[in-house]
């Protein structure tokens, strides 16, 4: 069987169709196919969220570059990030990152089959474990940031005193 793209979409050319049958044009999906049901729409939100995750990754790479260029460059970039537009960017990105993470972890159960002895670990338990891991990792990062911030404050106070 071969295919050809026409103005209406893909057409399947049936080589040995039974007598009397003829292939019908198969129009492609409507451009707004993702609005046909709620799950298609959620899928598109999930896919779109990765764009924002990528944008934030670029931002982070830029931050690393500022660190490489020296303290003055880094401080200048930090000051620039305090503008409302950047704060809005981070708020929106955080929202999409959460959407991406939640939908990704909800699908964790569809990944590798985990077994305990002879028993298969249920999908929900795998997903719950993934969420627990996410929460644990987030807490760890929060702890590092808080401790790091406190150390900086202590050092600043020590230098001032």
């Amino acid at each position: 069987m071969s295919y050809a793209r026409t103005e209406k979409g893909w057409v399947r050319e049936i080589g040995a169709a039974p007598a009397g049958y003829r292939p019908a044009d198969q129009p492609g999906l409507p451009s707004a196919w993702w609005r046909l049901n709620r799950r298609y729409t959620l899928y598109m939100w999930r896919e779109m969220s990765s764009v924002f995750v990528a944008l934030w990754s670029l931002f982070f790479l830029n931050q690393l570059n500022q660190v490489r260029r020296g303290e003055a460059a880094y401080e200048a970039s930090v000051a620039a990030r305090r503008r409302p537009a950047w704060i809005a960017f981070h708020a929106v990105t955080l929202g999409f990152a959460i959407v991406h993470s939640v939908t990704f972890l909800l699908a964790a159960g569809k990944g590798p089959t985990l077994r305990v002895g002879d028993r298969r670990v249920p999908e929900r338990a795998v997903a719950a474990g993934a969420f627990a891991g996410w929460a644990g990792a987030s807490l760890l990062v929060l702890l590092v940031l808080l401790l790091g911030g406190r150390r900086d404050t202590d050092e600043a106070e020590g230098a001032a005193g």
Binding site: I14, Y21, A24, Q26, L36, P112, E123
Partner: protein, 249 residues
């Protein structure tokens, strides 16, 4: 005497000899609470309009013949009760993403060709003599593939898959799930042959994990899971071969 309750079924009609494109026709038929959509179509066929064309066979969710789009959702019409729509109308259309033959009957050639590609049968490198008895399996070996063996080839997953709609070369959910079913079978030795078809850009890597195939599957086969697991397995194998090239297979 109270009048007999009725329900309206709006069926898609298409005659390649007469119609430039599909149209719809409305039928009002007697309604009973225990009727499924397929009963309604058979009533129309028997008593109202014998020209209405559709596929069906077992009437009990085994043969996979009667899949159609009911009120926008790919459904087995033998497993979809009219009472779930009553007193509203029921719109019955052919499965999406397949060429239309007539009315509600689609051409499944593409699916059958793709199914053959994954060799959905047990492949042995060394067949043992019949006298040595059957190949035995433990319950856990059976459980490894059991879910995927429930596929009845109804093609609802293809009708629900936007990737298949946009890229007809895509092997599709059911064929991949059945390929995985045999790859997980402890009696089978054909995994490598199948992976040459499954682990390609028209196979598992074409899937973007919309997941609708698993939602509409009437047998809880979960083809989306089969595809994602095959992705994970082939990726792990790739890394294993990279790190341990002497163990390459």
């Amino acid at each position: 005497m109270a009048s007999e309750p009725t329900i309206t079924i709006i069926a898609a009609r298409y005659s390649p000899e007469h119609d430039a494109k599909p149209r719809t026709q409305s039928y009002t038929i007697p309604y009973r609470e225990d009727m499924v959509v397929l009963d309604g179509l058979n009533y129309i066929k028997s008593y109202v309009d014998g020209s209405l064309t559709f596929r069906w066979s077992c009437r009990m969710g085994i043969c996979g013949s009667c899949g159609m789009t009911v009120n926008g959702v790919p459904t087995l019409t033998c497993a979809s009760f009219l009472r779930d729509f009553y007193p509203g109308e029921v719109v019955v259309e052919p499965l999406a993403n397949f060429p239309l033959i007539r009315d509600l009957a689609i051409d499944m050639t593409d699916f059958m060709e793709k199914l053959k590609l994954v060799k959905p049968w047990i492949i042995r490198e060394d067949e043992k003599p019949v006298a040595q008895g059957p190949y035995s399996q433990t319950p856990s070996q059976l459980e490894a593939y059991d879910q995927y063996s429930a596929c009845i080839n109804c093609m609802l997953c293809y009708a629900a898959c936007p990737v298949y709609a946009m890229e007809p070369e895509f092997l599709g959910p059911a064929a991949i799930a059945l390929g995985r079913r045999y790859n997980l079978d402890s009696r089978d030795q054909g995994a490598l042959e199948r992976l040459r078809v499954l682990a390609t850009s028209d196979g598992i890597w074409d899937c973007t994990f919309v997941g609708e195939c698993s939602v509409v599957c009437p047998k809880n086969v979960d083809p989306a899971k089969a595809i994602q697991q095959t992705k994970v397995d082939t990726t792990m194998n790739w890394y294993k071969n990279l790190v341990l090239p002497w163990g390459r297979r």
